[in-house]
């Protein structure tokens, strides 16, 4: 479980995170939603121990990511940032192999190669393994980066808007794979999504943020109500039950 207590982050006079107290359940997908600038990406970086906070605590399965040794932290939690930089002449299998860095520190063994192959297979990248990243489409690149994060083999996976640049088919495939990881391998996944219906379809739990605070958290059905959504996005929404889930439609 990831628990935060009264997380606070301000840079100068700008409050970026304000009194964030969260419980993120293990083994499920948690969707992080909220308008632009609500602090979702920053929160994700704080949860991964990458952006130091000015107040409050983070515990990942009881450990403090800020005081943990860098390697130990990178074996506990993996973060995929939004639109990561492309290194020229880097091939897909080499990128995915970087995910093994926390486990081998530059001296990969047979076990690492096995993990890389498995990640390539899981994200349908085996045929692209030798292609340089700059020759791939945006969606293929995104999948390669998610595969790298997967190869890191951490109990916690944090993804910042991984559905960006993905068409409906690849977005659905990616979410279905993440869903499979949570169900069958017990991985815990936190994902920032802009598409509320993607969150409604795939997330077991939702954290809704607004103006650097947490507005609501809980099971998806309980959070995605017209009242909470209106509060969160300042836009009226209808919610329609659909095949046992909630469908969200802007009015």
């Amino acid at each position: 479980m990831i628990e935060t207590a009264h997380l606070d982050l301000h840079i100068g006079d700008t409050q970026i995170l304000n009194d964030i107290s969260l419980r993120i359940e293990p083994g499920v997908i948690t969707g992080l939603i909220g308008p632009n600038g609500a602090g979702k990406s920053t929160l994700l970086h704080c949860l991964a121990g990458l952006t130091p906070v000015t107040g409050g605590t983070v515990r990942i399965d009881g450990q403090d990511p800020f005081s943990a040794d860098d390697t130990a932290r990178a074996r506990m939690v993996a973060l995929l940032q939004q639109s990561p930089a492309i290194v020229s002449r880097l091939r897909v299998h080499e990128l995915v192999a970087f995910g093994r860095w926390p486990h081998h520190q530059g001296r990969p063994g047979p076990d690492d190669a096995r993990h890389v192959d498995e990640a390539l297979e899981a994200f349908d990248l085996t045929a692209l393994a030798d292609r340089p990243l700059e020759t791939l489409s945006g969606g293929q690149r995104q999948r390669a980066f998610v595969a790298m994060t997967y190869a890191q083999d951490t109990p916690w996976i944090l993804l910042d808007e991984p559905l960006n640049a993905l068409d409906p088919r690849h977005a659905r495939n990616l979410m279905a794979r993440l869903d499979g990881l949570a169900r069958t391998r017990g991985r815990s996944i936190v994902i920032v999504v802009h598409d509320i219906n993607a969150a409604a379809r795939w997330a077991d739990r939702i954290v809704a943020m607004k103006d650097s605070r947490v507005l609501a958290q809980g099971p998806t059905q309980q959070v995605l109500t017209p009242a909470t959504l209106l509060d969160c996005f300042d836009t009226p929404f209808d919610t329609i039950p659909h095949k046992g889930r909630t469908l969200v439609v802007a009015q």
Binding site: L79, Q81, P84, V87
Partner: protein, 316 residues
């Protein structure tokens, strides 16, 4: 052998052949004396080429921009300023009395500290905004050059002559003590860089991604800055400032080796740098008999390549 190993071996063989040609072509008269002269010059060319090539690859990774060279942001301007200040404080006679090797160590040490503080702050603040970083770096370079020329105006004409000797790229005269100190520094810097080659591959992914993978990113950047400073000291102390030559080595190395791996790129750029300089000096000195123009020609082609790369990038 892998294709990469074959290419690297090929480069090393080409460099060896060039070195032999440089040493032995048209050898007559007092053989021992001429060989010694040529050997010193050859060693200087190899050191400068290797240092510039490797430093540029490292710096491009730190700056995450394949168009950068340490010269563009004013590393060598900082070195000239260091030398100028040294003359201003110790006096021309004081500096001239320092043993060559010791003088180099002092200058390199000051550059390493100053560059790490200055460019470390620059990279930390503006790392996200690469355009701003380049512009700040270029302006910083101008500022440093301005500062040196201001201090130079305050100097005695005779002391100014000491500085002036160090200010222009010239492969003509190289001190033996400097050469030994430089070669040792370069060897150590290259060895350390190679030890961090795999980590540098990860750092190239960007700060956030690298840190998420558990890399101690900021420490690695600091080490790399120190290494770049050490290598720039070697080349600037031996021949003076060169701006674009490193771009030539690094770009050729990347294009030819076709990889992102520093374990390959660093030696490739170093070998390529050494080979270009030895080849150029050989052609100019032995075949065209006008050795002093090499620096100008190398800079001309480096600058041309810079323009081509910028224009190609602008179109893409």
């Amino acid at each position: 052998m892998t294709p990469t190993a074959i290419k690297l071996t090929g480069l090393a063989c080409a460099l060896t052949a060039l070195c032999l040609a440089f040493l032995l072509w048209g050898l007559r008269g007092p053989v021992g004396f001429i060989l010694e002269l040529r050997a010193i010059k050859l060693a200087a060319l190899v050191c400068v080429g290797a240092a510039t090539g490797a430093a540029t690859v490292l710096f491009q990774t730190i700056a995450r921009n394949p168009l950068m060279t340490p010269g563009i942001v004013g590393f060598d301007a900082l070195f000239v300023l260091t030398q100028t200040l040294l003359v201003a404080t110790l006096g021309g006679v004081g500096v001239a009395q320092l043993p060559d090797g010791l003088r180099f160590v002092a200058e390199a040490g000051v550059l390493m500290i100053a560059a790490t503080v200055l460019f470390g702050a620059l990279l930390r603040r503006d790392a996200a905004d690469i355009t701003r970083m380049i512009l700040t770096g270029v302006i910083l370079g101008v500022l440093l050059r301005g500062l040196s020329s201001m201090v130079q105006r305050l100097l005695d004409p005779s002391e100014f002559a000491v500085v002036q000797q160090a200010m222009f790229a010239s492969f003509g005269q190289v001190g033996r003590g400097q050469l030994i100190a430089g070669a040792l520094t370069l060897g150590a810097a290259l060895a350390i860089a190679m030890r961090h080659a795999a980590a540098l591959d990860v750092a190239a992914l960007g700060r956030d991604t690298a840190r998420s993978l558990g890399l101690r990113h900021d420490r690695l950047i600091l080490i790399s800055l120190l290494l770049v400073s050490a290598m720039v000291s070697v080349s600037t102390a031996l021949v003076g400032p060169i701006t674009f030559f490193g771009l030539l080595c690094a770009s050729f190395a990347r294009a030819w080796m076709n990889t992102h791996r520093h374990a390959v790129l660093i030696p490739a750029a170093a070998l390529m740098g050494a080979a270009i300089l030895v080849c150029g000096q050989f052609v100019f000195e032995r075949l065209l008999r006008s050795g002093s123009t090499l620096a100008v020609v190398v800079e001309f082609f480096g600058g041309l390549l810079f323009l081509v790369l910028v224009l190609r990038k602008a179109r893409a």
